[in-house]
Symmetry: C2
Subunit: 222 residues, 2 copies
Amino acid sequence: MSASITSFELYAFWRTSATYRVRVALRLKGLQAREINIDLDAGEQRSPAYLKVNPLAGLPTLIQAGHPPITQSLAILEFLEELQPAPALLPADLHGRARVRSLANMLAADTHPLITPRVRKYLTSAADFDDAAWRAWQQHWFGTGLFAVEKRLASEAATGTFCHGDQPGMADVCLASVMAVMQVFKIAVPDIPLIERIVQRCQQLPAFAEAAPLLQRGAPTT
Amino acid sequence: MSASITSFELYAFWRTSATYRVRVALRLKGLQAREINIDLDAGEQRSPAYLKVNPLAGLPTLIQAGHPPITQSLAILEFLEELQPAPALLPADLHGRARVRSLANMLAADTHPLITPRVRKYLTSAADFDDAAWRAWQQHWFGTGLFAVEKRLASEAATGTFCHGDQPGMADVCLASVMAVMQVFKIAVPDIPLIERIVQRCQQLPAFAEAAPLLQRGAPTT
């Protein structure tokens, strides 16, 4: 299937980490998607129109014309990889692929779900977290996840200019997505020099730079 | 590569949901792994011997002889699928694969990381959660995740005897893993009849039945 005849719609919001991953992956593969903004701050994810697209009200949702909506960012990245294998987001060898998917899951599955709005809502309502307690929670889980990834990147021979060798892939997309959302929330994690180097390298690529949350429609302009 | 000449070691603990997923997937594919018990209650995940295998002290870790350790259950499932494609844990068509991975991620990425021991440790120490508060937290997130999956299964035409059609796959493995760990922790979620039917169907297969937490080495015998 040629990219030029493939039509995508991406239901998106400027600051979500999971939306960022899909934006980067589409760009890396040279695919275009028409973005439809779902303003989470205005509650648009619960509008009747969006609930028809995604009854679970989550973001992002990718739709390839004529097919059912696809949700969950990692599932979308795997879909794009299979739809358009080049340039690849996963290496060719089975063990390299397992390593990249493991790193991606450490970030997108073990780290990010802990700091989502729904968790914030629970902790600030049912558990009386104040702003400082929520900030400590964010800091703790971002730190835990990133230190774990830093440790692997520093000790494993397969690490290159990027997380795995010298081409950007699925792990880099997830790593940059976590760092991007941390920047939005002004959370700093010290002592992750290898991650910082890799994410800086990512930022030099238009696919990553153009997906920056603050450059998206709906982002605050100041 | 033939299964008969492939040698695996699985670092495992009887009750973890992520270990269960790998146990089921190995059995579905007719692969054998020698299990090495890492007693989380005794802190064996922090022993020098295990930290050499997995410096992040997580479970499970799968090792194929002669290769680096593989961590993160979803990465391991994808690895096994690529190593030994039949019987398949993912359907053949791209959109079916995306649906199954999306369902799997709703459970293994959006639901399970919220109720892990490390989260319990944080909430009971830093946030003064007592047993009742932790139980309410577990109940809330298991419920949120399972209701969301139930809603999809009930409304999407691709649902069959199993989550996707009439063969067990990656989504069923993740669904059964969540239900298995809920049983261990005696958490009940009402009003998920479709999930209950699918998981009962899974339990009729030896690959699922034999992976039950209480049948594993190290499980309590009463």
